[in-house]
Symmetry: C7
Subunit: 248 residues, 7 copies
């Protein structure tokens, strides 16, 4: 009980340090991320795959309006988990930053540069008073000078580079699945398959094509594409009844 | 009791995260929405229907002054539920934004674009200190490039797209009624009928034409129109004594 | 007791939401309105009547200095109840706004437009920190394009349109009297009579002409006029010894 | 005890409403006024009289430096009660405002206009955070278009017009004396006599000419004049041994 | 105990009113004044005398660096008691204000005008949030149009004019001594004698010439002069062994 | 327990002094540093060595994205320990400052000058309200006028110059190892060896070349270079099976 | 216990007065000074001596980087005790101020003028909210118009002039030693000897030349010089085995 009351003393108001050097508001923002549905990103030699669960609270809700995967620039996509309205602010920031790069320098922004612009913004909200941290994590994926790149941003404003990563609810289970199944020689469709089976791991049941949002950015055309439901269904069929999965 | 006192620790002052990643002030603003009378929106192939209960506290109050449905632009209407004065601020913001689009680009603003402008504004009030969230939900309906569109905004600054949605008091009952009775092939009058019967569901009694405010925006003229009481009465008669309701 | 201590937790400092979605500071501002003496407004086909009790704390105080009814523009009057100094701020705002309309557009401001300018200002003080809400309600009456109009503003920043309304102390009793006695075919003098008998209702004794402040804005000359004490006395005589009251 | 602890909850920090609609900081500022020595103002057909007790804490203090009565403009005087340094701020504001009127419009400011400028300033300090209310009441007297006028400002920012009024310590006793002895046909010297006997009422002993500060603004020259001690002594002699007092 | 806990409720943070209309932070600032060593000022027909105790905490401290008496302008001196660093801010303000008068108007500032500039600054720190009051009292003495003048400023921002006044520790004892010994016909040296004997009163032992700082501003040359230790010693000898004291 | 509750009273909100003159928020920020993995820096006659542990939470995380060693300018490197996002802000500040020097003066910034720019920024966040201190320590190493230099910055904004220093988790153990093994005549490879064996001390097991990040800035080319894994492995082999270690 | 809880009530947040007129945050800042190692300054007819202990927490730390004595201008040095990063801010302020004087007026700044610029800055941080006081004391020594001068600044913003003074840990013991051993006829080397023996007093053991930092500013060249370790050692030898100490 003492411990609990100590904790309470440091987790309110602006983000300040607790006696053991923690920032509780940032840690609680991470809980907000866990309350969101999961997103997954992975990198293959020929592109980046972003995939996300999307839940609708009513059959009358338009599934597409539950935006989990966003196009940030022609060659960069962003998957989010956590507080939805916060995610939109960061995605908008990323878009403006990418457009600014285009306008000022006439070139596409680098994936890491864009990620850093976002995490700098996130960090500021953890240090300066009068605001709360962003309750959202992002996976930023795209093509940098021909190379597929995948970064994660967390509510502290830290960024990490990944081969394959999960954010949001059931992260540990999904990340474990990724660690077991990710291979360096996956192609993009293989990546989609691993991503979808990872998203399926917590429920132990293969996801419906309709319940996921998947996008790819390949080295071929360096453009963000949403993956069609038909294509997803054929891949999901593979997961359910695997045949030549090792070759593809 | 412990749980309760924990909750109290995080729900005051500015909107900060609780240890489980929630924003209590935003959740309480949702309660303010529930304290308001209900509004309903639905989309048919040929238009959008917005309908709302309006209660007057005295027979001497002008029923029309209880504004629940607002014209935001020539082709966009907004229904609200919750804190009335907050709703007016958001509707005014929407109007200014729509006019700005017209002035700057000489064209009508998109329904989704307008909704986003509103939810960006709402989100800001949930993150930056010194203010409270907006205690209101909106249904934004209109015609986008010939297509009927219906969005909801909630106090967190999230937007959702719907075929048919209810906000405000008794939302669950009304949304349940919508889910049972909504059909993709409704025409606008059929939509009005479903909307009114949904609004009637909580009391289990058909609403009076005088006690509701209904507006439509059809693909035909892409203009916001309030529905006349006479027309409402004929539709309500249909609900009470249904005859050919399945065909129409 | 639990309930009470919960309430105390949400009603201090800036206006924030309580767990049940209420804004206590706004509700307390409504109590400040109830602490004021009553004002009444009503609309007849040929004009608007505003009437108010005014109490003086000493026979040496100039009764006229207890301002309850204010001229906002040539064709608009305002009656107030509640915190006197707050009322003056809102009346001053209304006057500046009306003058601005005249200066910019060379025309008289609409009654509803003016009311909205006032309620927008009121709402802002309920949402942004560092200030308290206005502890005052207003009745705004005037002629709009030849039509008599009567609006109420409340401390939340909501406005209502009325045929006849009471604000301030004993509001329920007075409003009840208005509901019983208001008729759509009253002329202005009949309106004054109903207003004065309504103000007399709580004490069950007809008010003195000297203890009330009455003003009218008629469709005839669209101008604000204070009603002379002599004329009030003749109407009060009618109330005490009614003769042809039903006809007029 | 419950009541007391409730009260304590609302009377700190910035001025916010208590559950019964009161502004405690404003009420406490009124207590600051009561802690000051009394001032009296009264209006006669031919001028305004302002009179104030002034106490010195040591015989070595210059009595004149205890300023209770201030010249605000050529034709306007101000008597104060309460927090001395706050009074000086308001008097300075009044002087600047009066000079501004002269500079901009080349005319003397009206007594009521000047009073309103002061009460608007006072009100602002009761609503906007980060400051406390002014702990002072003023009596503003002068000649308006040939007519003597007397106003009071209170810490809420309300103004009242009076024939005769007392502010500060023992207000009730002094005001009671004024109500008994004020007559509409007093001349200025008669007014001084009533003012001084009113100030003498609480102690039941006629004040010394040296212990009061008296000023008049008459319709004759519309100028602020301090009344000489000699003249005060002759009037005080009248009070002690009244001869023809009823006639004049 | 109740009284004490009530007091505690109002004396923290910014200066707000207590239920009995007091400003505790201002009263505590007065306590800061009492914690300082005493200063004395007095006025004679031919000049003003300022005198102050100065204590050094170590024989190695330069006695002159304990500044209690400051030259504010050629013809004005200031003695202080209380928080030393606060005093320096106010003295600097006074100097800048005096220089400004010289620069703008080519004339020496009046003693009262300068005092008011200081007290206006002090008052502001008692009303606006985010700062504490000044913990210092000043005696401002000088020549105004040939007349010696002496004012006191207190932490509330009030000013008083005095013939002779004490501020700081043991004020009551010293002021009592001044009241007994001040005479209107003192010359400047006689004034110094009274000032030094007053400063000696609390300890009942005549002060050392080295332990006091004395300055005069006489009508003769209207200039601030520090009094030499030799001269002080001769006057102190007078106090110890008075001879012709009544004549001089 | 008393001690603990006293501590709690001073360690919240902005950084203020405790009764014993400590700044708890700064001390807690130092705890945040200890929560980070360790970094080591050391200076040899021919260059500076920076080395850091880097831990990845998943085999799918790109080890390089865990940035512990940063290039601040051509000739200056920075190793960090603690809150990662805070470190990035300070490194960015250092880079901008170094570039500014180049742009304004056309010369490379001094290592100490750059360190001071960083510590001035850190100090500001410990004194001015509305923000928290930086939860990070840095080792800033580079070549100043041909001389290798190594500085540390701590969360209070203090800087220290070192021959060899450790920051972050297990600092005491690692610093102890450095003190035992550092020699003034080390060459850069010897320095790397001491740095790696120091980082290995807490676990009592030689680190993997893959788990560390090492960079050098030598006097030869005055340029920041990351040390290749191959080279690290050969040095680590030395540590495991030392042969001629004393000579080199 | 009551006393303690009273104290706690006034010592948090911004610097406000306690009921007995104290500023606890300033007093706690003085405790921060006491937590620092001691510095000593003294003035001789031919120059100023500044001396300070410097402790290193590890043999690998560069002793010179523990800056206790700073050159503020060509002819002025500053010794500090307390919070190191705060000291650097004040020293930087002093340097900028000295350079400004040179740039604007082409002359060296006076020692007292510079001290005042520093104490004005310190005072501001004790009165205006949103910041804490500076936790540092300084000794400012230099040559003013050929005269050696020595000032102290304390955390309240007060300055004192000294012949010889100690600041920081063990101040009382060291100051006592200075009072016993300071003589007005010391030369600079004699001053160094007294300073070093004073710094040695608390431990009752003569300090090592390596553990102190000593600087002088002499009237001969009016320039700040650090004293070489060799010279310090010869003086320390004098202290250990005094021979002709009285003559020199």
């Amino acid at each position: 009980m003492q411990g609990q009351s100590n904790q309470q003393a440091y987790d309110r108001g602006i983000t300040i340090f607790s006696p053991d050097g923690r920032l509780y508001q940032v840690e609680y923002a991470r809980e907000a991320v866990k309350r969101g549905t999961a997103s997954v990103g992975l990198r293959t030699p020929d592109g980046v795959v972003l995939a996300a669960n999307r839940q609708v609270s009513s059959p009358l809700m338009e599934r597409e309006s539950v935006e989990k995967i966003h196009k940030a620039d022609e060659h960069i996509g962003v998957a989010s988990a956590g507080h939805v309205a916060d995610a939109r602010q960061l995605v908008d920031l990323a878009r403006r930053r990418a457009q600014g790069e285009q306008l000022r320098y006439g070139q596409q922004i680098g994936v890491e540069t864009l990620t850093r612009a976002v995490t700098d913004h996130i960090q500021e909200y953890t240090q300066t008073g009068g605001a709360r941290p962003f309750g959202v994590a992002l996976l930023v994926g795209g093509i940098d000078a021909g190379e597929p790149k995948l970064f994660e941003t967390d509510p502290s404003g830290t960024d990490y580079e990944w081969k394959a990563a999960a954010i949001g609810g059931d992260r540990d289970t999904i990340q474990g699945h990724l660690e077991e199944n990710y291979r360096d020689d996956l192609d993009v469709d293989g990546g989609i398959e691993v991503a979808l089976s990872a998203l399926s791991a917590p429920e132990d049941e293969v996801v419906d094509a309709e319940d996921v949002d998947v996008a790819t950015i390949t080295t071929e055309d360096e453009s963000f594409h949403s993956v069609e439901t038909d294509h997803l269904e054929s891949i999901i069929a593979e997961i359910d009844h695997p045949e030549e999965e090792t070759d593809e």
